[in-house]
Subunit: 209 residues, 4 copies
DNA sequence: TATGAATGAGAGTTCATTCAT
DNA sequence: CATGAATGAACTCTCATTCAT
């Protein structure tokens, strides 16, 4: 009874629609991106979009939330590996700064939702929740790191995690198109970790005295 | 000469239109905000808008750029006062974090432009230029501060100034509506200055050795 | 402040739209009549329709109910004049059979609503209510006529009034286009009154014995 | 020869499609009833409908005309039995008022066609022809009844038959959903026969004098 | 100068129909 | 034969802009 082949085809096409939608919505915004243009890019006719998504808005929701969920999973995974809190965070920062490059459109899309909170209140809530999940995870790892003497104990973990997320988003927002080729890109990545106020080995030594 | 009273009236009305446009565009985005709604909020009829702005797009440009220029002037003024670089920057940070609250709509509007670079390329350029003016100014004050031993010399001023601006924008973007009532708000403000890697008096002493 | 001229113009145009809508909806049904066609008939552009009616459905409602209300007022007026119940009813029948001719479209429109009860439930209710107002009015006049010996006392007034209304609607429905030129038209009108089971003078005499 | 079993299956399925189509078209009208919904109700996929009917319009035609033909056959059969004209007509009235209940959807469907004469002109003609066949049949039986002194001779048979058919249709149209439970239902049925102006035995006696 | 009705191009969405599987 | 995804024309409705008043 099952028709695995067709089901696969459907998912494949759904994915392609979503992919193009992410690009176009990110570049042009919600209203300026017509369903007809998305269809054209995908290589189907206007009606086909609506076989996969009940409405343009539903497509927008999916284009915003589905990639965000993927990114979140990846980021959280960084924090659940073996290693000291400091190493985990360092690794996460590296990973996420790579993501800024690989998921530029996906992240800008989420950011633009935050810029239209009145218009898409539900979606805004979900994006903010997704951010909260991230900051909470960072917070607890960071607190542990403080206990282990890897981070300066004088900062509130809640503040630190929020600072970092703000910084991360701000970087994606304010840097130009070719973000990764920016002359200060590598330095910025380093400064992201500095935000966590890590204690240098030398200082660590001193502190432990 | 001319008709100064009427001229005044015109400017007054233009200002009111712009003010409402900023609020509505910031809340609802460009396409979702109709000229009719703006007119209604201002208390005029749809046609009137077009007596003050040649098109909806022109109104949007003005709504984005004019407040941004004002904020820029204020911020730059902070850096041109009397005082050590460290004091100037500390003051600027304080001022700008206040602005996040007082000019929430104006700043979000500018941010949302950055989220639609393809759609409003010219406007995007102008916003990025405005950001560049700011980072450049910060950069030179910061470099001076480094020379004076107020900031850690190991960081590139270009990177530091960009980091700060990214942070500033990210905070506005990712914090909730009532940003200022966020429990970590005050700490965040403090961390913004930490980002500049200021040298503590004690350290300053050590360093100067 | 009032702009009576414009207000008048608006009402005038609203009336014209409604008039064309009645004709087209009656001839082609709801779905088959496009707002563009209505606009074209009226001599305006498609958008204009929506300055006078918020939606196609609202226009349909108005096209069905407003003429129905007018017809009802006229019909009820017949029953509120001076005269014996028999004379009033006779006059009403005459009036209403004229209306079948003059308001063919309006009445067919109302009938077609009754043919789509599931689709327009609210509208159906209102049309049925309008019919009930009519049957109730007839019922009470008829009952009075029975008391005065003008009508056969063996029939229930409720049944008689419903019979008549059914007959009236059925005539409009089943007779051809040029209803009034039907060879039996005049006879049908007479039979409509026969349906009330009036007592002939001779019979009246007999009965009164 | 051929494949009678499959042929039977085909007919069976065609019947089911038609049955659902009648219900749905009657409840929702032509345009509001999609082929997809019909297919779903029948339990097949959209494409299948078009294996049995060349187009939606053809299905509509069949849904209107085929049941109408059945009903007509039944009604005509009433008039072709043994018995006096009066008895035949009395029986037919009884039969047809039952049909109003049993074939509510089929009859409403036919009525709604009459409400859209411009849109379905051919279909309208066929429905009107079907009505004419009925009135003609009644007319001739009625005329015979008049000759036999069962009906008042002063009425035109053409008018009487049309009156009755109008009444019959009007009753179906204007009475509510649960037509048969209407408190006046039984009385209405009786009045339908009264419309034929039957002569009471006593009167018959008098008249025959 | 302000008005606000009219405009008309263009948006999202629906759905009868087709056809490769 | 049945399927059901794809089609694409056609629909309703929106809204920036114009212009006679």
């Amino acid at each position: 009874m099952a028709r695995p082949v067709n089901e696969e085809k459907r998912l494949e096409r759904r994915k392609r629609i979503l992919k193009e939608a992410v690009i176009l919505f990110a570049e042009g915004g919600y209203s300026n991106t017509t369903t007809a243009i998305i269809a054209e890019r995908v290589g189907v006719t206007p009606g086909t979009i609506f076989q996969y998504f009940p409405s343009k808005e539903a497509l927008y929701y999916a284009a915003v939330l589905e990639p965000l969920a993927d990114i979140q999973v990846k980021s959280l995974a960084c924090l659940q590996q073996e290693g000291t809190p400091g190493a985990l965070i360092k690794n996460m920062v590296k990973e996420q700064f790579n993501d800024i490059y690989f998921y530029t459109n996906e992240l800008r899309l989420a950011q633009s939702v935050l810029g239209q909170r009145i218009r898409f209140p539900e979606l805004t809530q979900k994006v903010l929740e997704s951010i909260k999940v991230m900051t909470d995870a960072i917070e607890s790892v960071y607190a542990e790191g403080q206990l282990m003497g890897e981070f300066d104990k004088s900062f509130s973990p809640a503040m630190i995690s929020r600072s970092y997320i703000s910084f991360l988003n701000g970087v994606g927002l304010t840097l130009g198109e070719s973000i990764i080729h920016h002359p200060e890109w590598e330095n910025l990545k380093g400064h992201a970790y500095y935000l966590f106020a890590p204690i240098q080995p030398k200082e660590k030594l001193e502190e432990s005295k």
